[in-house]
């Protein structure tokens, strides 16, 4: 619901496993790791911070997957329409920054 922001754990004091020093673009604060005790993060991990507590670990893989999906947006539907013969103009945007990636439609080349 509320304001939560990603931060990187920069230090976990050895004496207290329940707290950590977290950093958000140069702003540092001690936060409580008590809600992640079932799968505690380690130094370097990214966590979602809300009112001084770590709520969840941030999955870099899921974030990367999401970005890929977003970059493919329009390509897939555009490709599908070509296949189905609508002849709708496809994406005009240059997405050369996206690199190569798998299309969800086997046999349809995307980029």
């Amino acid at each position: 619901m509320c304001l939560a922001i990603p931060g990187r754990i920069i230090e976990i004091p050895p004496d207290s496993q329940d707290s950590a020093l977290v950093e958000v673009v140069g702003v540092r604060r001690k936060i409580d790791l008590g809600l992640l005790q079932d799968d505690p993060p380690v130094s370097g991990d990214w966590v979602l911070i809300h009112v001084g507590f770590a709520m969840s670990k941030i999955s870099e893989q899921d974030a990367a997957d999401q970005m890929s999906t977003l970059r493919m947006l329009g390509e897939i539907d555009g490709a599908m329409q070509e296949v189905q013969g609508y002849g709708v103009e496809g994406e005009k945007e240059d997405v050369s920054d996206a690199g190569t990636y798998e299309s969800e439609m086997p046999g349809v080349k995307v980029n």
Partner: protein, 350 residues
């Protein structure tokens, strides 16, 4: 000496039953207090746009004059202290009114029980800041109040100066197409103070940006004097409040380009964490200037080449719509209105 007509008091328009912190935050409530209570009683029925400094005609010689109170807590913070703020803040108020500060008089209200070294440190800081800013402190006053009042010390500084030649500032002269310039990154001071109070337990490598902006203003005036319509130092209430005041005074729209507003990453991060808008955060070493398009390039060149001006940016322009409003636009076509600050910038969690 011909007496300037002293205006008759006008009816007051301030209805709040008591004074709140919000009345001092620099935003809407402050404006209501000044416009509704002070202005009618002191300036009469039609005071015109209210600025921080005034240029008074003394028998043919124009003298610029301003005054400011400094009540910051804690007294010392990364990047400066109250003594320094007092000098720079006053010099800056004069500078953005288009004047060079010549002399300051200062008044200290001291809390009984304040350790002497603390006072000494501030007087030294003030002396150094005055030397650095090229201004003399020529007189002063001291009062002491009971323990529990004045938060160790409050400082008031009054500055007088000489109007700079070649510049005539008037919000009424602002035109559609004028460019909005900002001298450097916003938010440093306010966030530094918020963190220095220690209530929120955050730490950051951040310093107050307090400095005299006079050298930058002088460089700007030399290069683009005739094209400068308006200047303001965005202290309490932030850039949004200053620009909202201008938008109201000239009836035009201030359109800012979000990507072009200089903000340090740390300030951005702190604002994200706390749910604050950098446009509402106080600054002590920056100023805004509205410059005609013909002079905008010369203005930016002069600023960026002047010492301390390398982070200056054109952050927006004046448009007809939205009239009387500040609008921030993004590269992808979204926009939002930024109002004057309401109340104090309170950290959000939600």
């Amino acid at each position: 000496m011909p007496a300037t007509a002293i205006p008759e008091s006008a009816p007051i328009r301030f209805r709040d039953p008591q004074i709140e912190m919000a009345h001092g935050a620099g935003g809407k409530a402050s404006r209501k207090l000044v416009e509704g209570l002070f202005a009618p009683l002191l300036f009469g029925a039609a005071p015109g746009p209210l600025g921080d400094a005034a240029h008074v005609d003394m028998n043919g010689t124009k003298v610029a004059i301003t005054t400011d109170a400094f009540v910051v807590s804690p007294l010392r913070f990364p990047g400066g202290s109250i003594g320094e703020l007092a000098v720079n803040g006053t010099v800056n108020d004069l500078a953005v009114s288009g004047a060079r500060a010549e002399a300051l008089v200062v008044s200290y209200v001291l809390e009984a029980g304040t350790p002497t070294p603390i006072l000494e440190a501030e007087i030294r800081a003030m002396a150094k800041a005055a030397r650095d800013a090229g201004v003399r402190i020529v007189a002063g006053d001291t009062k002491v109040v009971e323990h529990g009042k004045a938060d160790q010390m409050y400082i008031t500084a009054t500055g007088i100066g000489r109007p700079l030649p070649g510049v005539a500032l008037d919000p009424g002269s602002v035109r559609v197409g004028d460019r909005i310039l900002l001298s450097g990154p916003i938010g440093d001071h306010g966030i530094t103070i918020l963190l220095a109070r220690g209530e929120l337990d955050f730490e950051a490598d951040l310093r107050s940006d307090t400095r005299p902006v006079l050298p930058l203003v002088e460089a700007l005036v030399r290069a683009a004097g005739p094209g400068i319509r308006w200047m303001r130092d965005p202290t309490r209430g932030g850039a949004a409040t200053s620009l909202n005041e201008l938008a109201r005074d000239c009836g035009l729209g201030m359109v800012l380009f979000e990507d072009q507003i200089p903000i340090r990453d740390t300030v951005r991060g702190a604002c994200e964490l706390l749910g604050l808008d950098p446009l509402h955060i106080a600054n002590e070493g920056q100023f805004l200037a509205v410059v005609s398009p013909e002079y905008a390039d010369a203005a930016m060149n002069a600023l960026s080449l002047a010492p301390g001006g390398s982070e200056a940016q054109v952050i927006g322009e004046v448009r007809e719509q939205p009239a009387g409003t500040v609008l921030v636009t993004t590269r992808y076509g979204g926009s939002r209105i930024v109002d004057m600050l309401v109340g104090d910038p309170l950290p959000r969690i939600c």
